[in-house]
């Protein structure tokens, strides 16, 4: 049990003692302990009835049919219950505010799910004759038109499977364009220190040297430092805008000009496009390539870690290098160009993945886009920015905003307000969990100490924001009142599991269940 300094049980005490009460099963009412599926094996059982297999010889050549695999057998009701119970151990947008900065956890409309499941989309094979998939190509073409128009860019590839994959695609196009110009020797890529980890990881994977650019005191990239680093060996810059501090890069036009003057390209990480979609066209900022996370800006669900989709828009100078496949208009309707190096593929640089991109995500994103229309997207980005500024305004006196002035779709705080309290950013996050909220993004971006990055999105109501803000205010005040470190460190108390031992998990990795090893822990 936890006491505060006065020896008085803290508010969580009640919860903790309730949690401590033994039950026969270990369950706590609606909170049910669910074993691994492998621990529920009923040998021989199956949840799928299939017709008998005719007794004919196998035609496997010299390859032997395999022996026992080790999968558990369960009937359908057990399987449905297993996954339903597991689902109930998850926080989700459907259950509450999910202010995970940079991740854009906005409402996922169910219409999008319904549309993606139309047999005319879901039940298409990627290699059907193209005459039988004209509607699918039309959908891709329509989405491409929206993305090009909203960004003002002349070309787009829909192929990349997520944001990081889009970064890879954009940087490959830059490399291809440089090689085409005979300047493949440009090896340096400038990446601000505030960048998301995927930016340096992408540049390094492609063999570029990552040259970090410091930030300025106002939370933007240090434009002077950036310009000073430009040179004939620089391939490009990777700049996020709005940036990971939730701020618009005011000097972006002059940065773009300087980059182009130096013969380099401007890659923009468009993960935060949701802040400006329908209001600012990246083409007007001088960008050469930018990925758009359909799973952020256009609300395709994150699904517990994907799938995503990361189309990349390109400027005139990079457009010729767009990878295959892409849709073209021909005499017999729409047609996919599928082979780089083929007669109609021009200087396409290659291929990013199998088939034609994340079609299921295209359908969802287009359903979202059509639902909003140009006017609704304008309103959505406006509300996203309004919500974030409202949260920042209401927390500014008890927490420490990292930078002055308005933010875009997310607001950044650092942990100065916790100084001397013994309470950390992590502790605040875990305490929020007990209050029924998903925490904000913690410790990212790296440019401020103990970052707390809050992105409410436009799909939260004012009442919902007020409740979140009031909770955070109370927690901040509690932390600052003193002697609260132990209480915070014990959070969360009311969750299916309390803080987990990540050190042991990494030191002695157990990455799978193994037969006969039994279960660890009670």
């Amino acid at each position: 049990m936890t006491m505060n300094a006065q020896g008085r049980p803290t508010a969580a005490f009640a919860g903790e003692s309730a949690g401590g009460e033994e039950t026969v099963t270990g369950n706590r009412g609606l909170r049910i302990e669910e074993p691994l599926i492998f621990e529920q094996d009923s040998p021989g059982m199956t949840g799928v009835d299939l017709p008998a297999v005719p007794d004919a010889p196998l035609r496997l050549g010299t390859v032997r049919p395999r022996g026992r695999i080790g999968l558990p057998g369960l009937a359908e009701p057990q399987v449905v219950r297993h996954y339903t119970r597991l689902s109930q151990k998850n926080y989700a947008i459907d259950t509450g505010l999910y202010p995970l900065g940079s991740c854009t956890m906005k409402h996922n409309p169910r219409l999008n799910e319904k549309m993606a499941r139309l047999p005319g989309f879901a039940d298409l094979h990627p290699l059907q004759p193209q005459a039988t998939v004209q509607g699918a190509l039309e959908l891709m073409d329509t989405l491409a038109h929206w993305l090009k128009t909203l960004t003002g860019m002349p070309a787009v590839t829909l192929a990349p499977a997520a944001g990081a994959h889009g970064e890879m695609c954009g940087m490959m196009a830059i490399r291809a364009a440089l090689e085409h110009r005979g300047e493949g020797g440009r090896t340096r890529v400038l990446v601000p220190e505030s960048a998301h980890g995927t930016n340096p990881a992408t540049a390094a994977a492609l063999g570029f040297t990552v040259d970090p650019v410091p930030g300025a005191p106002d939370g933007r990239v240090d434009a002077a430092a950036l310009k000073a680093k430009l040179g004939s060996d620089v391939a490009g810059i990777m700049l996020t805008n709005p940036n990971t501090c939730g701020l618009f890069e005011r000097d972006i036009r002059s940065i773009a000009d300087a980059v182009h003057e130096a013969g380099a390209y401007f890659y923009c990480d468009g993960a935060n496009f949701n802040a400006i979609v329908g209001r600012v066209r990246p083409a007007d900022l001088g960008i050469d390539a930018m990925h758009i996370n359909l799973h952020k800006t256009f609300s395709t669900p994150h699904g517990g870690g994907g799938p995503g989709s990361g189309p990349v828009v390109f400027s005139e100078s990079l457009a010729p290098f767009v990878p295959v496949p892409f849709v073209v208009h021909g005499p017999d309707g729409l047609r996919l160009v599928e082979h780089a190096g083929g007669p109609d593929a021009g200087t396409a640089f290659g291929r990013m993945k199998a088939f034609h991109g994340q079609m299921g995500m295209f359908v969802r994103a287009l359903a979202y886009i059509l639902s909003h229309g140009a006017d609704g997207l304008w309103q959505a980005s406006g509300d996203a920015v309004l919500n974030a500024n409202y949260v920042m305004a209401r927390l500014g006196d008890v927490m420490t905003p990292s930078f002055d002035g308005p933010c875009m779709h997310e607001c950044l705080f650092d942990d100065r307000f916790l100084k001397g309290t013994g309470v950390t950013t992590l502790d605040i996050a875990k305490a929020l969990i007990d209050e029924g909220f998903h925490p904000m993004t913690m410790y990212f971006p790296l440019v401020v100490h103990g970052a707390l990055l809050i992105e409410p999105t436009e799909t939260e109501s004012r009442a919902g924001l007020d409740q979140f803000v009031d909770t955070l205010r109370a927690l901040a005040e509690r932390a600052r009142a003193g002697d609260a470190a132990a209480w915070f460190q014990a959070a969360p108390r009311l969750t299916p599991r309390r803080r987990l031992d990540e050190t042991t998990a990494a030191r002695k990795p157990v990455l799978r269940w193994k037969e006969g090893e039994g279960r660890a822990g009670p």
Binding site: L36, G47, L50, P51, L58, L60, G61, T62, V63, L71, P72, V79, Y83, Y91, I93, L100, L111, G120, F121, A122, D123, P126, L127, T132, V133, G135, W146, T149, A162, G197, P200, A201, L247, I276, V280, R281, G305, G306, P307, H339, A340, R351, K353, A354, F355, H372, G373, D375, W378, V385, L386, P406, T459, G464, R499, L500, D501, A505, L511, R512
Partner: protein
């Protein structure tokens, strides 16, 4: 707008609380030249649900769903029956609308699913460990090659001619820009290739596929031994996960890394995506793996729980030193895979694999009797190659006009090569009358 809960009064009050006059004031950091005064022109305004359904429904109606006609398409994407419970469960909002499980205390559902998924993939492939998914089989293949480069400190990959051309091209695209060598063997639709002769001291890895893209089932045990002797890694690609219910798994043949496509379980063919890449390795290579890993641990009360682990390999911690730049992967598709496999269970999965094989054997025998058709495979799983007396693409187009999706012309995958070859797949969804339709159609068109 139905997704935006703020009222005009809310907006007013919030602007007051912030201390600005309008939302536009909040955008004051945007350069004037780029700041628009109203919505982007030339695009339609918002629509209600009904109108969106009409617009997208009209596009969907222009397509021929593979399930509405006899279909024999494979070539890396396979149409299987997905039990109703799968789609129901993945649409639970707690799964569908959660993010990557960064806060384990409130993500034990997703995390336990991932732990179970990793275990299932390891069991299916016969490997020690698997990760929490990749984008698809092709990107998994390319990542496997890059992992082999890191492990061996060599920079040459030998790609079998039996490797799916999209996997090949994804890998060679990476090779071009990342800077490693690839030796690509020509397609060998009728049989073996002498890949072993090419493996030398500079070879990081050999990439083969089973069944290969022409449907041939192969035993790579000897090749694995040879690779080991030369210090090269063997990467086995699988594009039809159901085959793992019948064939000796890659792990038992001595594979070092398995890169596979998991679409066949739980996921519709969906015009090519999203799918789920499976990635499995031997224990000793774990720390060079790309992607997320879920591990078991205990919580503050000593109870078993799960967390994302070994993240010092990943971009958010390691930045430019990460093993891969992957972040978002295929979580929900992995869940669908996992649920489908859980429903099947040991017996059901093996049964499904045998059924697929039996349907394909029957189809091969049926087509072998059609004049103008020659079956090239002796050994196959649920897909094989036939040689036609006419160009396959034209035959496929003609039959599509008659309501039969006859298969994948090899020239579609191999940019115009092998125009007389057709890939034909059968699964548990293929009926006898489907087979009749194909056999009769081919007989007519080839006459």
């Amino acid at each position: 707008m139905r997704y935006l809960p703020l009222t005009e009064a809310d907006r007013r009050a919030m602007l007051d609380a912030i201390g600005v006059r309008s939302v536009d004031d909040l955008f004051r950091d945007v350069p004037d030249a780029a700041r628009r005064s109203g919505p982007v022109e030339g695009l339609p305004d918002h629509m209600g649900e009904l109108e969106v359904e009409r617009a997208l429904g009209a596009m969907a109606a222009k397509n021929v769903p593979a399930g509405s006609v006899p279909s024999f398409l494979g070539g890396g994407a396979y149409r299987h029956h997905i039990p109703a419970a799968v789609d129901h469960l993945i649409q639970r909002g707690e799964f569908l609308t959660a993010y990557t499980p960064y806060q384990p205390e409130i993500s034990q559902g997703t995390l336990q699913v991932l732990f179970e998924f990793q275990t299932q993939v390891a069991l299916l492939t016969g490997m020690d460990v698997a990760n929490a998914s990749m984008y698809d089989g092709a990107t998994a293949c390319a990542e496997a090659v890059m992992m082999a480069n890191r492990l061996t400190r060599r920079r040459k990959a030998i790609l079998s001619g039996g490797l799916h051309p999209h996997y090949r091209d994804t890998t060679t695209t990476d090779a071009r820009f990342i800077g490693f060598e690839t030796v690509v063997l020509p397609p060998a639709p009728t049989g073996g290739e002498d890949i072993a002769a090419l493996v030398d001291d500079g070879t990081a890895c050999v990439v083969v596929q089973n069944p290969d893209v022409f449907g041939h089932v192969r035993d790579y045990t000897e090749l694995a031994d040879l690779c080991r002797a030369r210090g090269a890694l063997l990467i086995v690609v699988v594009t039809e996960a159901v085959s793992l219910g019948l064939l000796t798994p890659p792990g038992d043949m001595g594979a070092d890394i398995v890169a596979a496509e998991g679409q066949s379980l739980g996921n519709p063919t969906g015009f090519g995506g999203p799918y789920v890449g499976l990635f499995a390795v031997k224990d000793k290579y774990v720390r060079q793996m790309p992607g997320r890993l879920c591990g078991q641990t205990v919580d503050a009360d000593g109870r078993r729980g799960f967390v994302l682990t070994l993240s010092t390999r990943e971009q958010h911690i390691r930045r430019e030193k990460a093993t891969s730049n992957i972040c978002t992967n295929s979580g929900l598709c992995a869940l669908a895979f996992s649920i489908h496999l859980s429903l099947l269970g040991e017996d059901g999965f093996r049964h499904l694999a045998r059924l697929n094989h039996a349907r394909a054997v029957r189809l091969a025998d049926r087509l072998a009797g059609v004049p103008g058709v020659a079956v090239l495979n002796d050994a196959f799983f649920n897909e094989f190659t036939v040689r036609l007396t006419k160009p396959a693409a034209a035959v496929v187009d003609t039959l599509a006009g008659r309501g039969v999706l006859a298969g994948v012309p090899v020239s579609r995958l191999f940019a115009g090569e092998h125009e007389d070859l057709l890939l034909v797949a059968a699964t548990e969804t293929t009926t006898d009358s489907d087979m009749d339709a194909l056999a009769n159609g081919l007989a007519e068109v080839l006459r």
